[in-house]
Symmetry: C2
Subunit: 182 residues, 2 copies
Amino acid sequence: MAEVGFARFSAREVAKRIGYAVGTLYNVFGSYDRLIVAINTRTFEQWAAYLEDRLAQPSTDRIAALVEGYFSFAAEHMPLWTAIYDHRLPPDMAMPEGFAARRGALTDVVVREVAAVLPVQLRDRAPRLARSLVATVHGHCTFALNGSFALLGETAPLDMAIARVRESLAASGASMPLADTG
Amino acid sequence: MAEVGFARFSAREVAKRIGYAVGTLYNVFGSYDRLIVAINTRTFEQWAAYLEDRLAQPSTDRIAALVEGYFSFAAEHMPLWTAIYDHRLPPDMAMPEGFAARRGALTDVVVREVAAVLPVQLRDRAPRLARSLVATVHGHCTFALNGSFALLGETAPLDMAIARVRESLAASGASMPLADTG
DNA sequence: TATTTTAATTGATCACCGTCTAATTTCGCA
DNA sequence: TGCGAAATTAGACGGTGATCAATTAAAATA
């Protein structure tokens, strides 16, 4: 998946490379969709670990570090990252047991960091605000990587994303380092 | 495309339904990717027309109308809308001549409306801010429609998107109707 | 160890796909 | 009417996901 991306990924090629027959893959994963779900859930976990690793390094602005980490993980693992959003479960198929929780770990990191900068009396709003800020950053990251921003002449998508996040956190009374106005 | 979605769309089925052979489609559009580009550009234009139509109806909050229009077009034409972002041009293929401009019409609508609420001395910032706000709304819309928000327990993605947009516009000194806090 | 039971693995088969080419049909115009 | 150009076609090629009866390997039992 990391090499060829979602569109050119195939179970046959996976089987060939690991030295098994296609049928074995299907016996193990059940279906093509479940194989993709397994791969993408693994990517989510790598992503969360990547962010935690960045946060573990000393930094004055952990929120900016999160946004940058979101962008750079996507950029450094573009085929894996886009596969997450390229894949859609069939309408009749639910996310297999346990996978949803493993994926949620990524959001948990953001909720924790958002809560840390909110005034104590507003910390219960952190989960909703965090989800919304992830969506904001996701939108900017998507347009940055799929060329939409470039097509429109935008050259600094990351700066825009950070600015939007800071504005929303400020509107909720968060205490943060001053913006780096370059 | 509107019926079966990006993953199950095929040129063969198109040819069958319009009563031509596959080769004819290939001769007309050149490749599968160019066929998809043509379809998706058409969707962009329908989307822009959809937004203009909504703005033509009397409204006290044109910004909110834009965000709602973004969401509702996506929801009402989910397979068409997702096809736009599911498709990625091969690295060696540029967007065919003229298609980029046709797609940009959608952003132009947003730039115009953002400029209208900004203080006159800041109107030159409208293009960049508008692009960023589109990305913000796009992120929320994506998570709303692909089930990410539902999985995390979020029940009002549209409200969140509008709130984020209002915060960012307010931070730029925009004059807008008061938020509906109902 | 010899035998039986269970688990793992295979690959041929099916109905599709995008792409391409040679051959054919249709059309516009002299 | 005839001809050259344009449009259209069928079919081949190498792929795809999915399936499942048959086979092989491993484990459990006697």
